[in-house]
């Protein structure tokens, strides 16, 4: 480790971190915006779900590199070339989680809401979506962490498009480990930090489900005791 070198390049690291976050988080946001209506449609028209789910899986199976090369022809050397593939990759976790979340709303709850005079839209916004938050948040956590770790492939199209990934390439090319190590540590730290933040947000949003999460654990204990 060359600490002097690291200290000299703090600004570079800060800039790369900022761009890394931007390139990783925008896809999660877009992914959420796309999968929300998609998930709603899949719940409303259950026949739609298998093909949508299969589609998301196929996209996820496409090699990132191939996607990027393909996109270069269309979007050129811009952030979009990296944001679009990462957005598509988030769908594979977000859509199923939104569908599972909405399906987790107990039928009696839905019936009670209807019987009390909720219209469909109001029921969706005030009852069904809030109850699916734990599932949606679980999806967001996976999507965010994977997106943060995937951003670095962007360096393949240019130094400005891979966030912290630029330091991995630098390190290998110059056989100089310091940027590589710092880049990896920062990338992992970002992922963990983002995950922790999302957990915190979820706790704040769902004070009502805290012990619910504890319940399976309590059951396990009982089984263990027996």
């Amino acid at each position: 480790m060359d600490w002097q070198w690291a200290a000299d390049h703090v600004d570079d690291f800060a800039e790369a971190t900022r761009s890394h976050l931007y390139l990783a988080l925008m896809p999660v946001l877009y992914g959420l915006l796309i999968s929300m209506p998609l998930g709603l449609l899949c719940v409303r028209f259950p026949k739609l779900y298998p093909p949508v789910f299969a589609g998301a899986n196929v996209i996820y199976a496409l090699p990132g590199l191939a996607l990027i090369v393909l996109l270069l022809d269309i979007t050129g050397f811009s952030n979009w070339t990296i944001i679009i593939p990462l957005t598509l990759y988030t769908l594979v976790v977000l859509v199923p989680n939104i569908v599972d979340g909405l399906r987790s709303v107990p039928d009696p709850v839905r019936q009670a809401a209807t019987a009390m005079g909720f219209g469909e839209l109001r029921r969706l916004i005030q009852v069904e979506l809030p109850i699916s938050i734990p599932y949606v948040m679980a999806g967001l956590r996976v999507a965010t962490v994977s997106s943060i770790s995937l951003v670095s492939i962007g360096v393949l199209i240019g130094d400005d498009f891979g966030g912290l990934g630029v330091f991995f390439i630098d390190g290998f090319q110059q056989d100089f480990m310091t940027p590589l190590i710092i880049g990896v540590v920062l990338s992992v730290a970002l992922a963990l930090l983002a995950d922790a933040l999302l957990v915190l947000v979820q706790r704040l949003l769902t004070p009502w489900s805290r012990t619910r999460r504890d319940r399976p654990a309590a059951q396990l204990e009982r089984v263990g005791a027996a």
Binding site: P106, V109, A112, T114, G117, V127, I133, S209, R212
Partner: protein
């Protein structure tokens, strides 16, 4: 008044949930729909708030077809309680109760005050207002369910097996609470259950349904037990129908007589003398509360308490039914029911033979031979 006019509900797969139902549920009364599963009771209730639309026929509320009203508006004026309660897990108890007031756009403070008032009314500690549903027991959740249905003071209450999922002790508490509430509120209630006892206990009128959505009989609980319309109803009511019917006869009508009594402090001499009369002797304390029976074969042990035969349970001739008196006689080792007043002092006794004689139908009813 809720009126079903020749209502039939047939599902696309051909199942008939309700077959030409005509029924009136009078204002301010509890109409209980009872029947086996698949007899269309739930469908009937859901036709009232348009959760189900009829294939043919009409459902009227005070003469107006429910289908002339917009479903959301209609439903906000009809309370609805279901077996699984269906509380909103993400809202506090107070917010759950205030659901319909919120939908109706009430002022927040008023909605909250109403929620707290209703919590007391249904027997919930207002300290629970800020809790979430998962923190409450099943019985408490169902009380919240009832409070939520009452929040906007709807004139009509639909209750679909509301007390079926709780244990028997809690169920009985909730039923008592229901009767107390209804005595105050006079709502028009349509109550679904598969439990005949519950139907008889809670209903002003009981409608018995049979598989295939057929209404077989509508009557007061008393009439239903006395004169089942057909064999199906008779079997559905069960073989203790005659015994249950006694719930509707007041124990006041029974002629009690005062048995021979002996004070706890009575001597062996006195005991022998009283027992010589033949019948069992009721031993009472200084406040004339019954302690036990003394019979001839055991009199030698007196004044040892082990000489006494237990009385089982007593009954209150002023408030109990003949059913309670008969039960007390049947459970008594000497076959005599002891009636007491509100302070527990003996007012008289009656044997099961005498009760049987009192409840035997007059000869006229048996008809000519």
């Amino acid at each position: 008044m809720i009126t079903f006019e020749h209502v039939t509900k047939r599902y696309p797969d051909g199942t008939v949930a309700l077959d030409d139902l005509s029924l009136e549920c009078p204002t301010g009364k509890t109409t209980v729909l009872v029947g086996t599963s698949g007899s269309g009771k739930t469908t009937a209730v859901r036709l009232i708030n348009r959760m189900v639309e009829p294939t043919s026929g009409r459902v009227l509320i005070d003469g107006t077809d429910v289908r002339s009203r917009q479903p959301e508006q209609l439903r906000r004026g009809i309370g609805y309680v279901i077996q699984q309660v269906g509380l909103f897990p993400h809202r506090t108890i107070a917010d759950n109760i205030a659901t319909v007031p919120h939908l109706l756009g009430w002022d927040k403070k008023k909605a909250r005050a109403t929620a707290l008032e209703l919590m007391e009314r249904v027997g919930l500690d207002p300290a629970l207002a800020k809790r979430y549903p998962y923190q409450l027991s099943g019985g408490q959740q169902q009380r919240v369910g009832v409070a939520r249905a009452l929040a906007a003071d709807p004139p009509i209450l639909l209750m679909d097996e509301p007390f079926s999922a709780v244990d028997p002790v809690v169920r009985s508490e909730l039923q008592q609470e229901f009767l107390r509430l209804q005595a105050d509120l006079d709502k028009t209630i349509v109550f679904v259950t598969h439990d005949v006892d519950e139907a008889i206990k809670l209903g002003d009128r009981v409608a018995v349904f049979r598989i295939g959505g057929h209404l077989v009989q509508v009557d007061s609980p008393e009439r239903l037990l006395a004169a089942p319309a057909d064999e199906f109803v008779e079997r559905f009511l069960g073989y203790d129908r005659g015994f249950r019917r006694l719930s509707f006869l007041d124990a006041k009508s029974l002629q009690l007589s005062m048995p021979d009594t002996l004070e706890l402090t009575g001597s062996a001499e006195q005991a022998r003398a009283t027992v010589a009369g033949g019948g069992p002797v009721l031993v009472v304390d200084d406040a004339r509360r019954p302690i036990g029976w003394l019979i001839r074969s055991r009199v030698a042990r007196w004044p040892d308490r082990s000489a006494l035969v237990p009385i089982g349970h007593t009954f209150r001739p002023d408030t109990d039914s003949v059913r309670a008196a008969l039960d007390s006689a049947v459970l008594s080792p000497v076959g005599v029911a002891v009636g007491v007043d509100d302070e527990g002092a003996v007012v008289g006794a009656i044997s099961h033979d005498e009760i049987a004689e009192a409840i035997r139908p007059p000869t006229a009813e048996i008809g000519p031979s």
